[in-house]
């Protein structure tokens, strides 16, 4: 296995996109994937491009909202990134950036929305407040209960399943080898970098490279353990639902500032409804969260989610629900993504957490520069160094 510069762990969107960018810069890369591309959150997500500050950043008080606003710089980069992706990767990824509305139904919600837009504008985002009628003009059929909305023209959606595969194909075209059914089970520092042990259908194997990228989504904390590191990433299980296909009905992405809701009509015609309603993770034999089995759907979440959707956009009540599913993604202790080098383990990098469908391609581009030792300041606020105290007693000694 000589001659690999970077071993990427995980073939979700983040791993495939990072491998692609690294290879484009000339690095020799191999991706190790326990199952197959899209096996994790990248194959289960809603495909929303949220560039406005998300509701989850606003629901825990002003101080946290201020801190979270530091993500706006990344969102601005992500808008540019997405504008280029359709040209770069082709029409299959179905980029639809025709606007997004975050709606409010009460005076309190309007107030939160106004503060949010003020923050965004200060951070350079072109969002604006509009009234209920203006929102209904952009999204005919939106309920009369909507009194205001923040609008951002660049928002929208794309096809998550296709995006991962498109990056994987682009990476393959640059010589990246993607090994499926190849699970990393051990890691050890060696003089030339790190030696990973993988389990494959043909038995175990050792692979060595100077640099390692952990892009294992919700599994990343477990991978961190293999390196004797704490990665403060927590798995969360979310719910999604899809209606039958229907004629064009809804053009923009719809979110709600006071309720968990994201709703859009995908290009195939199905209306996708999500927004962060919880599911219940199963436990494995050892009593830990089982990340390899689908989480259990909660009836209360399904009802709650569909009820908000039908209230905000009554015509969805007429559509047939054909499928609900759950997916597991990762959040960090401060909700910001965790992207960058890990100081206590030189040569080990991580990219996980956050809304990484929206932001994954941008993480990938910036982190590839960082991994290849090019100057890259824009990732500093997401650096694992901010949790350095957790790893004061950890790390990879004894090379």
């Amino acid at each position: 296995m000589d001659g690999v510069d970077v071993l990427v762990i995980g073939a979700g969107l983040v791993g495939c996109a990072a491998a692609c960018r690294l290879a484009q810069a000339g690095a020799r890369v191999e991706i190790l994937e326990a199952a197959r591309p899209n096996a994790g959150a990248s194959g289960a997500n809603a495909g929303s491009l949220h560039f406005q500050l998300e509701r989850r950043f606003l629901e825990n008080g002003e101080a946290l909202a201020d801190q979270a606003a530091s993500i706006l710089g990344l969102n601005l980069l992500a808008i540019e990134e997405w504008r280029g992706l359709a040209d770069e990767l082709g029409p299959d990824i179905r980029v639809h950036m025709r606007g997004g509305l975050m709606v409010a139904e009460t005076a309190d919600e309007v107030a939160i929305l106004e503060r949010k837009v003020a923050r965004e504008v200060q951070g350079g985002l072109a969002s604006r407040m509009i009234d209920g009628d203006a929102a209904r003009a952009l999204a005919p059929g939106l309920s009369e209960t909507v009194v205001a909305a923040s609008h951002l023209e660049a928002e929208g959606h794309a096809d998550p399943k296709a995006l991962t595969l498109a990056f994987a194909a682009a990476a393959a075209a640059r010589g990246v080898r993607l090994r499926q059914r190849c699970r990393v089970v051990a890691a050890r520092p060696v003089r030339s970098g790190y030696r990973l042990t993988v389990e494959t259908p043909d038995g175990p194997e050792d692979l060595t490279a100077p640099k390692i990228l952990i892009a294992a989504g919700a599994w990343s904390a477990r991978i961190g353990e293999l390196f004797n590191l704490h990665l403060p990433l927590y798995p969360v299980a979310l719910l999604m639902s899809a209606t039958e296909r229907t004629a064009p009905l809804l053009d923009p992405l719809i979110q709600h500032v006071g309720q968990r809701l994201s709703m859009k009509q995908a290009q195939a015609g199905n209306v996708l409804i999500g927004g962060g309603w919880p599911s219940r993770m199963r436990l494995d034999a050892a009593g830990r969260f089982d990340l390899d089995r689908p989480a259990e759907m909660l009836a209360s979440s399904l009802r709650g989610n569909l009820a908000v959707a039908a209230r905000v956009f009554p015509r969805v009540a007429e559509l047939n629900l054909i499928r609900s599913w759950t997916g597991i993604t990762a959040i960090t202790a401060d909700q910001l993504p965790l992207v960058g080098a890990i100081p206590q383990a030189p040569g080990v990098y991580v990219a996980a957490g956050g809304s990484a469908f929206t932001l994954g391609p941008t993480f990938a581009r910036l982190l590839a520069r960082r991994i290849l030792d090019e100057p890259e300041e824009r990732l500093e606020i997401f650096s694992p160094a901010r949790f350095g105290h957790l790893n004061s007693f950890m790390g990879a000694a004894d090379a």
Binding site: R36, P37, N38, A39, G43, K161, L165, Q180, P201, A242, T243, E244, R245, A268, P294, E296, M297, A299, L302, R303, L306, A307, A309, A310, V316, A317, E318, L319, N320, L321, I322, R323, S324, W325
Partner: protein, 458 residues
């Protein structure tokens, strides 16, 4: 009602075919039972009843139906049973001391709880992709049959039957009696396969002689009425522009017809067992059959399975399994001593074993071989809900994906039918590629449901 309250029923039976009916009949009086079926009236596939509103003369004549009708009459007179017809079960999950079922009766969704649940949901026609199989007028033989059975009408004028399952003779015979014209019946396998398989199981063949004779008789009746019956000629395409105009057979000949009916066999209904987390294993000629112990207990506490949901085996075996499940529920509830259940089960087990031998013979005779054909033209649709073609699948298979990966890459199985009509075909295609073909992850709801109805639930 919260999860800790007393369940509404002691037993919920899903499916009122021979298996579900027999389970209720085997239970002693006392337990509160609810029987839920999508059909308005009990009977299951084999006894699909005409709507009460108009009664039809000559509905399902014939000796083989007499016993089934007697069982149905006994079931309908049971007073301990609450009947919920026209009601689909969308899903069931473990809740407190039992199971919580989500039901849709077309007007709304509600939940009922039961201490125990019996899944007796039968089987359905296996769809086999061919060029043109999605044209209006192309259907399953079971579809024709259901139509004939429920209204005694013949769709189209001339119907051509093709496939590998002998049931198509029955369907053709019924259609002809109902006034339809049978253009031809084409079997994919040569006639000698029937003879060889029967000779290979002489005892089973002999003990089922009346049955075999009745099939021969049907064939003879059709021939006498001028219907050509072909052997060794598989269908290769449905011809026609906007609707069916002909059925092309292996040797290139085209049978002129207005409708084409296919019969390659049946798949166990596995959506509920899989969504409930019950163990299943691969079935022949496709699909998944629910696993069970000798008393039809499934792999989760309080769950039982019986009939064709555990493998396609005919009405007699289905009824026997239903009776065993009913006895097991009685024992597990403590209303029947085990010794008594064992005694009552003995003749049932013998009947089941007999029926299973015949089912094995039928399965061997009817085996359609590996389907779909790997060499189908690239533009042949495999997933009709999402218009996924053979070419799309080949491209995805070339990457070496599993069923879930192909689904994500192509949308195969993402449509309204939830993969009921394409999963088996995809797994067959994957058979040569992947060493451990897993199916699609089961999803709620088992049937599409209007969101407004879901929210109207009380």
């Amino acid at each position: 009602m919260n999860d800790d309250a007393r369940p509404d029923y002691d037993l919920a039976v899903v499916g009122a075919g021979p298996a579900g009916q027999a389970a209720c009949l085997a239970l002693p009086d006392g337990p509160r039972i609810v029987v839920i079926d999508e059909q308005l009236r009990p009977g299951g596939q084999i006894l699909r009843q005409p709507p009460r509103a108009f009664s039809v003369r000559g509905w399902l004549e014939g000796a083989e139906y007499r016993r089934l009708k007697a069982r149905l009459a006994a079931f309908e007179s049971l007073e301990s049973v609450e009947w919920l017809g026209g009601c689909s079960v969308l899903g069931a999950r473990e809740a407190g001391e039992g199971w919580r079922l989500a039901l849709s009766d077309g007007g709304g969704v509600r939940e009922v709880t039961a201490r125990r649940i019996l899944i007796a949901t039968g089987c359905y026609d296996m769809a086999v992709p061919l060029p043109g199989w999605t044209l209006p007028g192309a259907m399953s033989a079971g579809g024709v049959q259901a139509f004939v059975k429920s209204q005694m009408l013949a769709p189209g004028h001339r119907i051509a039957f093709a496939g590998s399952h002998p049931l198509q003779l029955l369907a053709a015979d019924q259609l002809r009696k109902a006034g339809g014209t049978v253009a031809a019946v084409a079997f994919s396998q040569p006639f000698r396969r029937f003879v060889l398989k029967a000779l290979g199981r002489p005892w089973t063949a002999l003990t089922n002689l009346p049955r075999l004779m009745s099939v021969l008789l049907m064939g003879w009746r059709l021939r006498a009425a001028g219907v050509p019956i072909h052997f060794g000629r598989a269908p290769t395409a449905v011809e026609g522009r906007d609707r069916v105009q002909g059925l092309r057979l292996e040797d290139g000949a085209v049978v002129a017809c207005d409708a084409a009916a296919f019969c390659f066999g049946f798949l166990p209904q596995s959506d509920l067992p899989r969504a409930m987390g019950l163990a299943v294993r691969p079935a022949r000629p496709g699909g998944w059959k629910a696993c069970h112990d000798a008393w039809m207990r499934a792999s989760r506490p309080g769950a039982y399975v019986a009939g064709e949901t555990t493998g396609v085996k005919g009405a007699d075996a289905a009824a026997a399994e239903g009776a065993l499940a009913g006895l097991a529920v009685a024992v597990d509830m403590g209303v029947l001593p085990l010794r008594e259940a064992v005694r009552r089960a003995a003749p049932v087990r013998r009947a089941r074993a007999r029926a299973l031998r015949f089912a094995a013979l039928l399965e061997a005779v009817a085996d359609p071989g590996p389907l779909p054909d790997r060499d189908l033209p690239a533009d042949t649709i495999v997933c009709r809900c999402e218009d996924v073609t053979m070419g799309d699948l080949r491209a995805a298979l070339a990457i070496g994906a599993d069923a879930g990966g192909v689904k994500l890459a192509t949308r195969c199985g993402m449509g309204v039918c939830q993969g009921r009509n394409c999963e088996h075909g995809l797994l067959a295609l994957l058979g040569g590629v992947s060493t451990e073909p897993h199916g699609f992850t089961p999803r709620f709801p088992a049937r599409p449901i209007r969101i407004g109805d879901l929210l109207a639930e009380d």
